[in-house]
Symmetry: C2
Subunit: 311 residues, 2 copies
């Protein structure tokens, strides 16, 4: 038997046929056409999966289950809400069952799905308690307890990017002030660089962005950091300080064996991991005890497909 | 068979014989004489328990287990650290087994123990996921997952009073700035009242403290609040605002069925619970969904004995 994992993102949808060892045997992708609406996107997924099976001489009878990762929240009634896709309480479970009538259907938040992938086959393999932070445009999170994904009593949990951990000079998209997402995302890194440069600071970052503030991305800031640019060092030092506070909160609360860092920002893992344990230890309550290992995710963008397959 | 629960506090030790329905049949207590040191206090407990059994015609053979709640941390090696008792990595498990050789011994952090008591017989009964905040001199916490106490991979978890949730005008005893404990404890309420009065504000609180700033306690602040004292309203409004942020962090992370409030401050439950759900809902990510019920603990100080008995 095989499993299908579908990773629904804000711009693209990836799908794969996965074996029981977590290996992606066949894969495909398509664009997320938001304006087609909820049912239109589900139709695209149906066509994509049928074609994937057909092209690889597979039959739906050989598929044990199809799992979906979504960039939002599925409640216990099977209704999905994804702000970026303009889905607001859509009938996710029912509409998928209608399109795929003879196979098990599962769905979860995308970061939770990635955490499951990392837990079964990647950086958190074997850990009873593990927490994944995905640092990208926003900050997502997945919690694994007893080697199972954990999202609480109503499915609202593991939104650890929206923990309030301080006070910031701008509000989060969620309406609160001080969310992890406003300190530790790619967006946070870009915004703080722009702020310092707008305040008149000279920086290599602006050269890398060809003089255009709006073109700055997180990679440029890390690249400038490698060239010892003072502004980049200030931005990354601030980012790492808040990341350490965030991880300490996670340790003081959930005390995982492993904290794993995924998402686009984690490509600069050498810079992020350098000295992070000492920084985190400064903020935890019991400073002399063993604390979580802090590592980078290993499955990359495949975690979404693999994790979804094993929901 | 019966169970014994022992609640070791900073000033007193309470012990009780508990039946399998969570009823305390017989109880006793003694002072915590810190200067006697670790072994001296354990000797006192041994004498107290032997006497408790003898006076009630019970035999140690009728006792299934003895559980201990401690105001600190017991690691996976059975070593205990309690700053207030000046215990620093003492051999808790071994020394207790030596004193009580023919009975099961268990130990846990006191707030975690109280959470277990509330989960089995009190305010969190039947909830798969529950979180207890004990608001007293400090802020302790206990997490219940799958109806079992949860303290993470190394036993460091559930220290939710030391989540960083903002920036405060004084540091926490733990060395960090912005811990829940510095916003939501009795100490925090007292300190902020003193600060406002020292800044020249007139308040009924000072009358209740007979003009002596040092005599202010949390009860006086709640009493002045009931008399519509402006300073007390400001202090309690700030306290409730941070409490709501804290509970929202807990919902965004663990999404419990129930959040229960215990500890001395919870005696003002009418004031604390009034409007708290609306405040919390302001800060959670998914504002339209069902969220945790927020209630007050029901076992009071008995939660420590009952929870310890059922470790």
């Amino acid at each position: 038997m095989y499993y299908i994992g579908v990773d629904i993102g804000g711009t693209g949808i990836q799908a794969g046929v996965v074996d029981n060892q977590g290996k992606i045997l066949f894969r495909t992708e398509c664009k997320t056409v938001v304006k087609k609406g909820f049912e239109g996107i589900l139709d695209d997924i149906k066509i994509m999966i049928d074609k994937l099976l057909e092209e690889n001489n597979l039959n739906m009878k050989e598929i044990k289950s199809i799992g979906f990762g979504v960039p939002g929240f599925i409640n216990k009634k099977g209704l999905v809400t994804c702000v970026n896709l303009k889905w607001d309480g859509e009938s996710f479970e029912n509409e998928l069952k209608r399109r795929f009538p003879n196979v098990e259907i599962h769905g979860e938040n995308d970061a939770t799905v990635a955490a499951l992938g990392e837990s079964k086959f990647g950086s958190m393999k074997g850990a009873d308690v593990g927490v994944l932070y995905t640092l990208g445009t926003g900050v997502g999170g997945g919690i694994v307890i007893n080697q199972k994904v954990f999202s609480g009593a109503h499915g609202l949990g593991s939104e650890i990017g929206h923990q309030v951990i301080g006070e910031n000079y701008f509000d989060c998209n969620c309406g609160n002030n001080g969310c992890v997402e406003t300190f530790c995302s790619a967006t946070a890194i870009i915004k703080y660089s722009q702020k310092l440069i707008q305040e008149g600071r000279k920086s290599r970052i602006l050269d890398l962005a060809e003089g255009d503030l709006e073109k700055i991305n997180a990679k440029m800031v890390f690249d400038a950091y490698r060239e010892n640019d003072i502004v980049a060092i200030e931005v990354i030092t601030r980012f790492k300080s808040y990341l350490a506070k965030t991880f300490a909160n996670t340790i003081n609360t959930l005390d995982p064996e492993i904290i794993s860092i995924g998402g686009g920002v984690s490509k600069a893992s050498d810079i992020i991991l350098d000295g992070i344990e000492d920084l985190v230890r400064k903020y935890v309550l019991y400073k002399k005890e063993d604390i979580a290992k802090i590592v980078c995710a290993t499955l990359g963008s495949d975690a979404g497909i693999i994790g979804a397959a094993f929901l």
